[in-house]
Amino acid sequence: MHLAYPAVLSALLFCTGLYGVLARRNAILVLMSVELMLNAVNLNLVAFDVWLSRTAEETLHSGQALTLFTIAIAAAEIGIGLAIVLAVHRNRGTADIDRLRDTAEGRDPDEPDPETSAPGTAAEKAEATA
């Protein structure tokens, strides 16, 4: 199989993920888009590893090993991310990224959110992750 097929596929996946991250308003969908981007990277890693190992005398398959790491870390990340989104949703009744603007300039960080009286720390963490 030619290298172009997986490369094009991964580029498409990545662009889809990027669009999702930039355009989606729901925090869960943003997290899903992040997963798409991660998987595009994983695909690239595997494809190029195979392509490079064809010419080499002996190889460690480091690309495929790194992919396993990425999958593990992505699993942990999505777990924490979803937990934070859940906590934010419980506190604020929404997971809409456009409405979680506690770090905007001109707002007192100590002041509770005018819409809900929940502490802002959870929301900030959610944004940092997203």
Binding site: V21, L22, A23, V30, L100, E105, R107, A130
Partner: protein
């Protein structure tokens, strides 16, 4: 032990006592009193031994150079002649008396340990000044005294008067000390040494000094500040805000005596310039007559004594102006004894009466029966102050007047005849006024009528015993010593001459009798005008009563120096002058207008320049980054997706740039 070793121990012992007192004062309360009294007493005994060994013979000189210090060497030097030996005995005696007296006077004072240590340090500094043979070492003692007087005058720092007085004492003496320091450098530059013996040798040599007048006038500024001479005397009356024993110490033996003693030591330097001697004479004349007039108008008993000290110091500088340092130091010794006695007795009196106001005392009956010891000793001291024979003040004051009279004839090359006339006329006038204010003080304090004096029991025995110890020299020192002293001093005769004795005693008697007459005339008014306030806590120790009396004088009488008392004979005698004399001839107001206000105005100008001009640049430098920061902050919308978009855009730009650079386009 050699005389030199003994002499080194004399200033060293009080110094070690002071250090030990300051270190252990809080932890070992039982040792505070022995540590205060014993080193001073030992120094006194050693000073007597040194004087006995020196015996008025050849001066004891010893010097050691610790380390080379450049062009003009500074040496740890002793120079003990008859003057130094006797003045050290006086300092030791008065300091010992003051320390013993203080144990009773400040019995319950919580700050007694540091007070006693500072008095010891003060004594040690004065002894250093007295014995030192090197002007730089002398200056060390001179400045240590300055700072000690600052601390001791401000002992009752809870009261605003004491705080202001201690600052004033420090600043005014420093005002003189700056020219003094420059004068010392100029003198050492001309003479090539800081050693007193070498300087005197240089003055006596054919070349003499290059700039005698400039040096003498610069040194005179320091002497005037330290010895409270016009125009730098204003700190001394205010220094009465300190405890009475401190006043006794400052006025009798240390501090103010230092300036006169210094001039006596370096008298040949001053003699080299006729102008300096004339300035000295005029300074002395203005000081003594002005202060005697002011003393007649004061209401606070301690301020009367303070102005009296200024006047007597005027006599000392007068004697120096007519180039007779024997007479000057003679009067310094006898004045030291009776002025210390006057202050210590006044302390007892203030404690017993519960007030420091003469107006209030004159409305209290039977004060002398409450404090018989203070009454008798103070009478002796006042007679000595008024120079009534045969008390010691008579002989010493006569020696000054006789010296002045000798110079008026013009048969001496040491001092101009004009100086002699100035000192003689001013001296006689002051003798009259001195007798007048001494009589007024005695009559108002002890011959009061009105309510019975409050009884506080007997005064502490330490306080009364000291009074009698000091009464002996006040009574007999002059008469016994005037034949012996010439051997110790320059050999100039100190015997009273007939003319000046008759004149001096005559004007003193006139002054006393006139004041008595005025008092008889005004005393009837005493009962009609009720006046006076006494301390609210008479059971406290004497120091507490005094602090309270000083603090309440201005609120009770409207002024710290005078009281609106029509029964005061001083008011009758001075007439319209009384108001001005009570305020010290408004010298403080003049200084406030000439010096204090310009300095304050300058300070506010500097503050304006600093806050409005210098800070404007600093604030301007901060303003631009702040504006830029505000602009950048506007991008902070709080929307995460905007941030990521910006991040992406930046990455794309960087990637394109990297590709362009890599391809070399």
């Amino acid at each position: 032990m050699t005389t030199t070793t003994l002499a080194v121990l004399v200033p060293l012992l009080p110094f070690l006592g002071a250090v030990a007192g300051l270190l252990t004062g809080r932890t070992a309360a039982a040792f505070v009193r022995p540590l205060a009294v014993l080193p001073t007493l030992a120094a006194f005994v050693l000073a007597v031994l040194v004087a006995a060994r020196q015996g008025g013979g050849r001066a004891v000189d010893a010097a050691t150079e610790l380390t080379p210090t450049g062009s003009v060497p500074i040496e740890l030097a002793l120079h003990i002649d008859g003057f130094a030996a006797l003045v050290a005995v006086l300092v030791g005696l008065v300091a010992t008396c003051v320390q013993i007296y203080s144990t009773g006077y400040l019995r319950d004072d919580p700050r007694y340990p540091s007070y006693a240590a500072l008095v010891s340090l003060f004594t040690s500094a004065m002894l250093l000044v007295v014995y030192s043979g090197d002007l730089m070492v002398l200056l060390v003692g001179w400045e240590v005294m300055g700072i000690c007087s600052y601390f001791l005058v401000g002992h009752y720092w809870e009261t605003p008067q004491a705080r202001a007085a201690s600052l004033k004492a420090f600043l005014v003496t420093k005002l003189g000390d700056v020219p003094f320091l420059i004068g010392l450098f100029a003198l050492a530059g001309d003479a090539g040494s800081f050693r007193i013996t070498k300087i005197l040798g240089a003055v006596a040599s054919d070349g003499g000094l290059d700039h005698p007048t400039v040096i003498a006038l610069l040194l005179l500024a320091g002497v005037a500040g330290k010895s409270a001479q016009f125009p730098l005397h204003t700190w001394l009356p205010d220094a009465m805000a300190g405890p009475t024993p401190v006043s006794a110490l400052i006025h009798a033996a240390t501090m103010v005596a230092a300036g006169v003693y210094f001039t006596a030591r370096l008298l040949p330097v001053f003699e080299a310039s006729d102008a300096a001697m004339l300035v000295l004479a005029v300074m002395a004349a203005v000081t003594m007559t002005g202060s005697a007039l002011a003393a007649l108008a004061q209401d606070d008993i301690k301020r009367v004594l303070a102005y009296s000290t200024i006047g007597q110091l005027g006599y000392l500088t007068g004697a120096l102006a007519v180039a007779d340092r024997g007479a000057a130091v003679f009067h310094l010794l006898s004045h030291g004894a009776f002025k210390a006695l006057l202050f210590l007795a006044a302390g007892v009196l203030i404690h017993a009466a519960g007030t420091n106001s003469l107006a209030a005392m004159s409305r209290t009956r039977g004060l002398r029966d409450r404090v018989p010891d203070a009454y008798w000793t103070m009478t002796v001291a006042l007679l000595a102050l008024a120079a009534i024979p045969p008390f010691s003040g008579f002989f010493s004051k006569e020696s000054v007047l006789a010296a002045a009279e000798h110079v008026t004839g013009g048969h001496t090359e040491h001092a101009p005849a004009a100086a002699g006339w100035t000192v003689l006329v001013a001296g006689l006038l002051t003798a009259l006024l001195t007798a007048a204010y001494a009589t007024r003080l005695w009559l108002l304090a002890f011959r009061g009528r009105g309510t019975e004096a409050p009884g506080h029991g007997r005064q502490p025995v330490t306080m009364n015993a000291v009074l009698w110890v000091l009464a002996i020299p006040s009574l007999a020192f002059g008469g016994l010593a005037f034949r012996l002293l010439p051997d110790w001093f320059d050999g100039r005769d100190l015997t009273p001459t007939l003319t000046t004795s008759v004149l001096g005693t005559g004007v003193a008697l006139v002054g006393g009798i006139v004041t008595y007459g005025a008092w008889r005339h005004t005393t009837a008014l005493t009962a009609r005008v009720p006046l006076g306030a006494v301390a609210a806590h008479p059971e406290g120790d004497a120091g507490a009563v005094e602090a309270e009396a000083i603090a309440s004088h201005a609120p009770a009488y409207g002024d710290i120096a005078r009281a609106p008392d029509p029964a005061d004979p001083g008011r009758l005698l001075l007439g319209p002058l009384h108001r001005h004399a009570a305020a010290g001839f408004h010298l403080d107001a003049v200084y406030a207008a000439l010096l204090v206000r310009p300095v304050l105005a300058g300070a506010s100008l500097v503050r304006f320049l600093d806050r409005e001009v210098v800070d404007a640049y600093v604030r301007g430098a901060g303003a631009l980054p702040r504006v830029l920061g505000a602009a950048v902050r506007r991008a902070q919308t709080g929307n995460v997706q905007t941030y990521v978009s910006a991040l992406l855009a930046g990455t794309v730009v960087l990637a394109v740039a990297a590709v362009l650079v890599a391809t070399g386009a």
